[in-house]
């Protein structure tokens, strides 16, 4: 225990010595203080005293607004991207520096097992993010309470969530640091893996969204077929033979065309499912960075508050064609995107965090095995 405490104190001293730690803390303070400059009223947003009219702002609850502000600006942008990159840069050198000759000898010659030493160093390496997120959450809690008059205790959920999220990347960084003994290589390859993970997530979302969208198309085609079948029955009852034949023939052709569309749509859906299945498997094996951070949304703001179902989109679904809503997008695109987000947010936490932690355990075990077996 004495050795573990010494390593924790040492890790704190090391952080304290690093300029990047203080720079990150100052930038965090700037982000938190920016919350003070943002306010809402019935007419819109007020950003640093300047009014920005936003329609229907009166409908938005003040507490929800500040929760969203914390989620989007504080968590999604600052903590999970900017601060994470700074944290990686700051902590990636811990193991490569440790493994240099003359340094590692001092530690390994002490009465502490290699595994215990490795794990102690690993967990103390997470101290950077723990302290940063802790300070950020506490400051955000106070600022949001002052500004928004709301006590959002949920902001403290950011501490375990961001810590777990960061540990997915940090374990890879540690493995690369132990393998290559190069800080730069560890940082670059970790960021590359992070981009790959984000890419897999984005493509998986796209294929899932495509499935939903193709489902809406199928609903429409089926409805058209039903309508046309009704038209066909009506046409068959037409008295005048020539007209009847013409109508029946027209309806039958249309039905055949729709059925062809339906077959093509079924092939598209099967294709979507196949690709989605593969990407889902890849995601299951990889750490789920985006979905872990999205846990904040589940707990801090209800899904409907963030991605509330738009009744206009629901109505548009009953129409023959989706409505265009601008920027080349239509109501089906929006609805599919919402359904995708909802499905992703509804995934079990055991899958999101559990499988990611299994990945982390595997990577840390490999790094520990290399660390313990190596000669220095």
């Amino acid at each position: 225990m004495r050795q573990t405490v010494a390593l924790i104190v040492d890790a704190y001293r090391e952080l304290n010595y690093k300029k990047l730690f203080w720079i990150t803390l100052i930038l965090s303070a700037v982000v938190v203080l920016s919350f003070l400059g943002v306010n809402i009223n019935d007419h819109g947003l007020i950003i640093f005293g300047k009014a920005w009219p936003v329609p229907h702002m009166a409908m938005l609850d003040r507490a929800v607004f500040y929760r969203l502000l914390f989620l989007v600006l504080g968590v999604d942008i600052w903590l999970t991207w900017a601060a994470t990159i700074l944290a990686l840069v700051s902590t990636a050198g811990i193991f490569p520096d440790l493994l240099t000759g003359g340094s590692i000898d001092l530690y390994l010659s002490k009465p502490i097992s290699r595994l215990r030493f490795f794990l102690s160093k690993y967990f103390t390496g997470l101290l950077f993010v723990g302290l940063q997120v802790g300070a950020f959450s506490a400051a955000s809690f106070i600022v949001l309470a002052i500004r928004g008059q709301v006590w959002i205790w949920g902001v403290f959920l950011a501490i375990p969530i961001v810590l777990v999220f960061y540990s997915y990347l940090y374990c890879v960084c540690v493995l690369l640091g132990v393998l290559t003994r190069s800080t730069l290589t560890a940082i670059l390859l970790t960021i590359l893996l992070w981009l790959v993970i984000t890419g897999v997530h984005a493509v998986e979302m796209k294929t899932l969204s495509a499935q939903f969208k193709d489902g809406y198309v199928r609903e429409r085609i089926e409805r058209r077929i039903e309508n046309e079948e009704r038209n066909l029955i009506a046409a068959q009852k037409t008295y005048a033979q020539t007209l009847r034949e013409s109508r029946v023939s027209f309806s039958q052709k249309k039905i055949e065309t729709f059925r062809q569309d339906l077959r093509e749509n079924a092939a598209d859906i099967a294709d979507d499912r196949k690709w989605h299945g593969r990407l889902f498997l890849a995601k299951t094996l990889l750490p789920k960075t985006s979905e872990t951070v999205a846990l904040m949304q589940r707990w801090l703001a209800s899904t409907s508050a963030i991605h509330g179902s738009n009744p206009e989109y629901e109505r548009a679904l009953t129409e023959d064609e989706p409505r265009q809503i601008g920027f080349g997008r239509n109501t089906d695109d929006e609805r599919a995107e919402e359904a995708t987000k909802k499905q992703v947010l509804d995934r079990p936490i055991s899958w999101v965090v559990g499988t990611s932690l299994l990945f982390e355990i595997a990577i840390v075990s490999l790094a520990a095995w290399i660390f313990c077996r190596r000669d220095y």
Partner: protein, 372 residues
């Protein structure tokens, strides 16, 4: 298991990547309460051996004990202090924090570590720098703090790898004094150093490691005495003309002398008396077994026993030969070292990778282990 031994190594071997044989069956004994010096040229395997003892390197094979426990027994390291070569302390710690931190890592309680840190900083002359970050220290200062770090747990055995590297002469003397005081307190000091003269000054026993083998081991006195000889310089107006007379005297003493071609000494080896190509070199053996060489005005007898010398001197005087000088010549540790690390066949230093014949060469020179 011998309880008198602080380090008792048997068959310690290390092969890197299945190809590089860094250590090839080391046998070494260090008594409790002595200062032991480990010598050897670069690449001899000294650091590997030290690192195996300190569990930094995993041995391919290792039998033996450190402080009575098998090699690699981690809890025993709480009783061992270690200063690695070119050590790197965390730059963000002060000297005092460094000692306290590594004290905690050695399982020393906080209060004791604080007290010992102050004492040791004073001992190594770093009290005035105690609260400065080690990043600002000079090499010599780092060595001093490193030594203090190795002593923070009041170890029974202290292993020092090049402790005086970068330290000025005053500092070296202080470090030597610290080590001598440790020996007085019954502690064992294991020194790995290139500074042979320093080792000679303080080591009770030394071992010379050459390409993964122990080439010599014993007390400095024993190892150097084994090579002791007497050199007689005669007063000869014409050494060439007087050669038959000198050989006649040596023949009367029972030495059958044969002329040998003078061969140059291997690089680094010190001639016991100045060789010169103009005088023939005659060699023989006295009835007692001591070898004898004659060259010009010099006669060299391979013995450290003054009694053997008396009849030789008498005979020389009786033959009318005047003696200018009689000098007992004793090898220094450096001579011994050079002799151990020079390949007798090639006259070249035995450097790492200098050929596969090394194992045979060293094995052929039966290691001279003197361990009374």
């Amino acid at each position: 298991m011998n309880s008198d031994l602080a380090i008792d190594l048997k068959h310690v071997a290390k092969t890197y990547r299945g190809r590089v044989h860094a250590l090839q069956g080391i046998q070494m004994h260090v008594r409790r309460g002595e200062i032991f010096g480990l010598l050897g040229p670069n690449g001899a395997g000294k650091s590997t051996l030290v690192k195996i003892m300190m569990t930094v390197v995993r041995p391919t094979r290792a039998e033996g004990t450190v402080l009575g426990r098998e090699i690699g027994h981690k809890p025993t390291l709480a009783r061992v202090g270690y200063l690695p070569e070119n050590h790197r302390f965390p730059r963000y710690l002060t000297g005092r924090q460094t000692l306290e931190f590594f004290g905690a890592m050695a399982n020393v309680d906080r209060k004791t570590a604080k007290r010992r840190a102050s004492e040791l900083l004073e001992t190594v002359g770093m009290l005035n720098w105690a609260n400065k970050k080690v990043g600002a220290y000079s090499k010599g200062m780092l060595q001093r703090v490193g030594l203090a770090q190795a002593m923070i747990n009041d170890p029974d055995l202290i292993v020092l790898d090049e402790p005086t590297d970068g330290v000025d002469p005053v500092g070296r003397r202080e470090i030597r004094d610290v080590l001598l005081r440790m020996r007085e307190r019954g502690k064992t000091v294991f020194l790995n150093s290139h500074l042979l003269s320093e080792l000679e000054m303080i080591c009770d026993r030394v071992a010379i490691l050459v390409k993964g083998h122990v080439a010599r081991q014993g007390t400095v006195e024993e190892l150097t005495r084994a090579q002791q000889q007497y050199e007689i310089e005669l007063v000869l107006s014409d050494p060439i003309a007087s050669r038959p007379q000198v050989l006649n005297v040596l023949g009367q003493l029972g030495a059958a002398m044969e002329e040998k071609q003078t061969t140059p000494l291997p690089p680094g080896a010190r001639a016991p008396f100045a060789p010169t190509p103009i005088f023939a070199l005659d060699c023989g053996t006295l009835p007692g077994g001591a070898w004898v060489e004659s060259q010009g005005p010099w006669i060299r007898i391979g013995t450290c026993d003054p009694e053997i010398m008396q009849p030789i001197l008498d005979r020389l005087r009786a033959a009318g030969l005047s003696i200018r000088r009689l000098t007992p010549v004793r090898q220094t540790l450096e001579d011994l070292f050079m002799q151990a690390v020079i390949d007798p066949a090639s006259g070249q230093p035995l450097l790492p990778g200098s050929g596969p014949a090394m194992a045979n060469t060293v094995a052929a020179q039966t290691p001279k282990v003197v361990f009374p």
